[in-house]
């Protein structure tokens, strides 16, 4: 297990973090928009959001990535490996986070809306000052859970050639021939990245509240 290989894998770990972070931020915007669509009174918009969410949650990420990378070119849309992975992960995030956002907002008792309305606050004021602060706190544990899941899902991008941690591991195996050790190290790398994040959940909750 050469020093070079270890370094190679660690650098690829940065790619894992990078693509996950970008997908999360982009996905969050998409998720907010989708959550909004799913909660409006216009049924057609609800349907669009629902279809999108069901598609993302009901089909394998691997198949989604294959489609974006291998099949879209046939239709004339050629995305790079990184872009394909990013699009797939962003779409995934958009759907899952939309559900988290929606569930958090809908879990707030109607009485809160009533009380705020009775005091004369406008819809916007209620959402920003009363509902969102509570919804965000409720949303933190599942969001942290999703972030972990996202980082693990980034490993799927290795199948379309993105050089993140998992792919780097496989490439390193070809060079060093030591599969067991290398994969073990890759596993440790993911563990080191993900484990602290889930433990972070508790302290973030306290701060925001």
């Amino acid at each position: 297990m050469t020093y070079d290989s270890i370094l190679f894998i660690l650098k690829a770990g940065l790619m894992t973090i990078e693509v996950s972070a970008l997908a999360f931020v982009a996905g969050l915007f998409l998720a907010t928009f989708t959550a909004y669509l799913s909660m409006t009174k216009i049924k057609v918009l609800n349907l669009i959001a629902w279809v999108y969410i069901q598609l993302m949650r009901g089909t394998p990420l691997l198949m989604q990535m294959f489609f974006i990378f291998f099949s879209l070119p046939i239709l004339g849309i050629r995305l790079s490996i990184f872009a394909s992975a990013l699009v797939a992960l962003t779409a995934n995030t958009g759907a899952f986070m939309a559900e988290i956002i929606r569930a958090s907002i809908q879990s707030i008792k109607k009485g809160q809306w009533d009380a705020a309305e009775s005091l004369g606050l406008s819809r916007m004021q209620i959402i920003i000052k009363v509902i969102l602060p509570q919804a965000i706190r409720i949303a933190i544990p599942p969001t942290i859970g999703y972030i972990t899941s996202l980082i693990k899902n980034s490993s799927v991008a290795s199948t379309i050639g993105l050089v993140e941690a998992t792919r780097a591991g496989r490439l390193a195996i070809e060079r060093t021939g030591q599969g067991l050790l290398t994969l073990f190290l890759v596993g440790v790398l993911y563990f080191i990245i993900c484990f602290p994040i889930s433990k972070l959940s508790k302290s973030i909750e306290k701060k925001v509240y």
């Binding site: 005091l119 004369g120 004021q125 000052k129 009363v130 706190r137």
Partner: protein, 243 residues
């Protein structure tokens, strides 16, 4: 000062309010009594427009509430004049007590923070909770939370306050502290409409009583008329069960 006229409300096909009409003079304390499902909460919630009714109108001073859509500005006017306290107090859990009280004055009445705070402290003292200004709602008892809810409503300087079964969810020993606040409020001349099962309160504080059953007003009048000398059979029946 408040006039309810021919109000009808349907929940889909369910006729929840049937031709409700009554007047609330300034300074009076109107108590609405009746069995569950009578529509008492519903009519209250129509007065501050948390619920929309299908026909008739409600007038508060010179402001009118009508069926159908109303613009936010009109709604704002109504809600600043009509205070509403619900059974489940609904304090905002992410804000401490004093912040709960100054939120609406700041955002809706555009009060400056200092003025809003002073105002809020005044009302907190009035309900006997000045020392809890910096507490979190979750650390207060039910009775204390309900009193804060009342202070929060009073801080908006309403002309009339609606109380929707505000003691029904409280432990017995906590009920009296809330009723005391309501009694002193009445004595100061606040116009109040109170939906309650607390007959003692009704008898000692109310000026008018309305008895509702299954969406209609069965009988209404002064305390003497309704509670002491009820005329309708159904009123007599109901009162015999609760008094």
């Amino acid at each position: 000062m408040l006039e309810v006229k021919n109000v009808d409300k349907y929940y889909n096909t369910f006729h929840a309010l049937k031709d409700i009409s009554f007047n609330v003079p300034k300074g009076s304390v109107t108590v609405i009594i009746g069995p569950s499902g009578a529509g008492k909460s519903t009519i209250l919630r129509c007065i501050n427009r948390l619920e929309v009714f299908n026909s008739g109108f409600i007038k508060i001073g010179n402001k009118k509430i009508i069926p159908g859509k109303m613009r936010y500005n009109d709604l704002k006017e109504i809600r600043t004049r009509v205070g509403y306290v619900a059974q489940s107090y609904n304090l905002f859990p992410h804000l401490i007590v004093i912040e709960n009280i100054i939120l609406a004055p700041k955002l809706v009445l555009h009060q400056k923070v200092k003025a809003a705070r002073d105002n809020a402290m005044q009302f907190l003292e009035k309900v006997g909770l000045a020392d809890k200004a910096d507490s979190k709602p979750e650390n207060l008892s039910g009775g204390e939370q309900q009193r804060v809810a009342i202070a929060r409503t009073l801080a908006m300087n309403p002309e009339i306050v609606l109380f929707d079964e505000v003691t029904s969810a409280l432990d017995p020993e906590l009920i009296s502290e809330v009723l005391n606040v309501m009694t002193s409020l009445a004595q100061e001349g606040m116009t109040m409409i109170v939906v309650t099962h607390e007959m003692g309160f009704a008898r000692s504080v109310a000026t008018d009583v309305i008895f509702m059953e299954q969406g209609s007003i069965v009988e209404k009048g002064s305390v003497a008329d309704v509670l002491v000398n009820p005329k309708e059979a159904r009123t007599i029946q109901f009162l015999s069960k609760v008094l």
